[in-house]
């Protein structure tokens, strides 16, 4: 049995705790938040504890609990690093909500804390996307030859934003989020790129704009970006990212990929394959096989995370990977700010 506790439980905590609560191998030991945290954070965390019938604890109690194996850091992004370091120092395994942190300096602090801890750290990600795994398999089997260009479209639908349980300010208030949608979302397509190619980004250019969401306009953060990347070996990539009014997909988020290789070409879409339903009222619906990607992918990742913990294996997605992705995200944000391409210099791979 793996015991899991939540250190702050805002934003996506509801969906994560739901997955754990329904996994017979997992026991949720409690939800905690600091007494001096903002009232809404305490209220959200208490509400989630109440809904799942688990104790609401102080962070000190939770971190000192010898029965708690895993701490889920599910606070606002600007507190991820601080809480993750505390949990690692307490010797716990740490599962951090995305984004890992809001700066690479914070990410480095987590990496250092993990090095000194007997616990491991990982970050919520979408590499369990069946569409991405299929493309990766085809890359590994050689069907593409050498990948040359990858195009990724990543959208969230604004229609879901206002009605979502998620508090919009967790994305738009820089004090909580660290930035706009570049920091919030760009990590997903960047993760996809490195997962599919095994290459590092060497130059990033991005244009950002606020085109769709009044919440973002009021807060002064971008809701849209177009990105041009150069990877090692002359491989190029484009990313079109946005919280648009209504995304061309079936759920709250949608993403599609086009991969051109020297020997082959393929597309992938997190909403596909799907079945179509045609109602007598003329309405058409599409239902993704395997369930909505936004839920199915996270469920698959969390299930595999528990699998590996039970085996005593290290997490498959490392904080170091997440840090490399964050570095590219930072480069894109810098390019969008300065209007100049940002160069990423890579040192020789470190040991370990």
């Amino acid at each position: 049995m793996i015991s899991v506790g939540f250190l702050s439980a805002v934003r996506h905590a509801d969906s994560y705790i739901d997955i754990f609560a329904n996994d017979p191998r997992v026991r949720v030991v409690g939800v905690s938040e600091y007494a001096d945290a903002a009232e809404w954070k305490l209220a959200d965390s208490r509400r989630i504890a109440g809904r799942y019938g688990v104790p609401f604890l102080s962070p000190d109690e939770l971190l000192a609990d010898p029965d708690c194996d895993v701490i889920v850091v599910c606070s606002e992004p600007t507190r991820h690093a601080e809480l993750a370091v505390l949990a690692l120092q307490a010797g716990k395994h740490v599962l951090i909500d995305k984004p890992l942190a809001v700066t690479t300096a914070e990410a480095d602090a987590i990496i250092e804390a993990e090095r000194a801890s007997r616990g491991t750290a990982t970050v919520i990600n979408r590499l369990h996307s069946p569409a991405i795994q299929r493309l990766r398999r085809w890359v590994d089997e050689g069907h593409f030859g050498l990948p040359r260009h990858i195009d990724i479209e990543w959208f969230a639908s604004g229609a879901f934003f206002s009605t979502s349980v998620e508090r919009p300010e967790l994305v738009t208030d820089v004090a909580l989020s660290g930035g706009g949608e570049i920091l919030n979302f760009l990590l997903y397509p960047i993760d996809y790129l490195s997962h599919l190619t095994g290459l590092r980004v060497v130059e990033a250019y991005a244009e950002a704009s606020t085109l769709f969401q009044s919440t973002h306009a009021e807060a002064g953060v971008e809701d849209t970006a177009v990105v041009s990347l150069l990877l090692e070996h002359g491989v190029t990539a484009t990313i079109t990212l946005g919280r648009v009014a209504s995304a061309p997909g079936h759920g709250p988020v949608s993403s599609s990929v086009r991969l051109i290789g020297s020997r082959g070409f393929a597309t992938a879409d997190d909403d596909q394959p799907a079945v179509s339903i045609f109602g007598t009222d003329g309405a058409q619906r599409r239902s993704t096989i395997g369930g909505a990607s936004s839920e199915a992918i996270v469920r698959s990742f969390l299930t595999a995370y528990i699998d590996r913990l039970e085996l005593g294996a290290a997490p498959e997605y490392t904080v170091r990977q997440a840090r490399e992705t964050l570095r590219v995200v930072e480069a894109c944000a810098e390019a969008a700010r300065t209007g100049l391409p940002a160069i990423l210099i890579h040192k020789r791979p470190e040991e370990g």
Binding site: G145, R148, H149, D151, E153, F155, Y205, A206, E207, S209, T210, L211, F212, T224, A225, V226, V227, S228, L230, G234, V235, T236, T238, I239, T240, G242, V244, A245, S246, A247, P248, R258, I260, G261, S262, R263, G264, F265, T267, G339, L340, P341
Partner: protein, 335 residues
């Protein structure tokens, strides 16, 4: 029955052949002349249209008062001279894309035609493809609110013919790939978004051989004057010769619209490859529109202002490739 509309085609290359065949298939149209520098080639192209006369004498063609319009399909560097001569002779002009290799040339072409009482239509064939025309109709009707973000992925499996002699590999002749074919996707973007680009960044790669003098695959990020954005990709790198994939997505303030060639009827037969239904018959529709236009029966679908905006952006895109930097397009500098 009204008298036929008589037109002349200037140029004898592969595009000229397609134009002559398309014009000859439009009822009420007569291709009067095919004019080129080589009489034998002109004769071969003229043979595609009954009654067409092959000639190397452009002045004679332009002096024929029965010719209403001239369709300029020669090499891109010759577009300006031919168009200006035809316009000065009082002819309506259709010119193959890219219209010109410089803005100064394009402005002179417009002045010699629109500026002296005739007309200039640039052959932005893509606008006449059924899928693109339908997307534009829905966007312009307001179905997605105000368009704010466009994403065009346009891939083919194609190598410019002629090996290393291919004129497309010579920047002096083609203008480079952002000008040669980037004008297609930029024109679509300008048309769908309905505003002008103010900054472009371009990145490229050679699809099939290192050290191509002109990279055949490239992409652009485009910022428009109101902050709207676009990602435009063109690649020749599909492994399967003749393969084509194109997806166009536009997100607006009240919805999104999308078309992909992946989701349309397709023939699967050994050794046979047909064009996607969504691009069928565009050139004939385009030239039929030109005939309507010069007959005074239609309003222009392709305006020279839009073509100029796309061409300026394409030239800036090439500059971006050369410098590795984004390039600003300052419209206030214009006349």
């Amino acid at each position: 029955m009204s008298a036929p509309i008589r037109v002349a085609v200037v140029g004898t290359g592969s595009i000229a052949r397609e134009h002559v065949a398309a014009l000859a298939s439009i009822p009420g149209v007569e291709v009067a002349y095919v004019c080129g520098s080589d009489l034998a080639r002109a004769a071969a192209v003229a043979s595609l249209a009954p009654g067409a006369e092959a000639t190397t004498d452009l002045a004679r063609v332009l002096a024929d008062p029965s010719v209403l319009g001239v369709d300029v399909c020669n090499a891109t560097p010759q577009h300006a001279d031919s168009t200006i001569s035809a316009g000065r002779a009082g002819k309506h002009v259709h010119v193959e894309k890219p219209a010109a290799l410089t803005i100064a040339d394009f402005d002179a072409m417009v002045a010699a035609t629109e500026g002296s009482g005739t007309s200039l239509m640039v052959g932005q064939t893509v606008r006449f493809q059924p899928a693109v025309a339908a997307l534009a109709e829905r966007v312009h009707a307001g179905d997605i609110g105000t368009p704010r973000l466009a994403h065009v992925s346009w891939y083919t499996g194609y190598v410019w013919p002629g090996g290393w002699r291919g004129w497309q590999l010579d920047r002096e002749k083609s203008g480079g790939h952002p000008v040669h074919n980037g004008t297609h996707s930029l024109d679509v973007a300008v048309w769908l978004m309905g505003r002008r680009p103010v900054r472009v960044f371009t990145r490229s790669f050679p699809s099939f051989a290192a050290d191509m003098p002109v990279d055949d695959s490239f992409h652009m990020t485009v910022r428009f004057e109101d902050g709207s954005l676009a990602t435009l990709e063109i690649s020749y790198a599909l492994a399967e010769p003749g393969d084509m994939f194109r997806r166009i997505m536009v997100a607006g303030t009240a919805g999104s619209i999308e078309h992909s060639t992946d989701s349309e009827p397709r023939l699967r037969a050994p050794g046979v490859r047909t064009a996607p239904a969504s691009v069928e018959g565009a050139m004939r529709v385009q030239l039929a529109h030109w005939i309507e236009l010069i007959s005074g029966r239609a309003e222009p679908i392709v305006t020279t202002d839009q073509v100029r905006a796309a061409l300026r952006t394409a030239l800036a895109a090439q500059e971006s490739l050369d410098t590795g930097r984004p390039v600003d397009i300052v419209w206030e500098d214009d006349k």
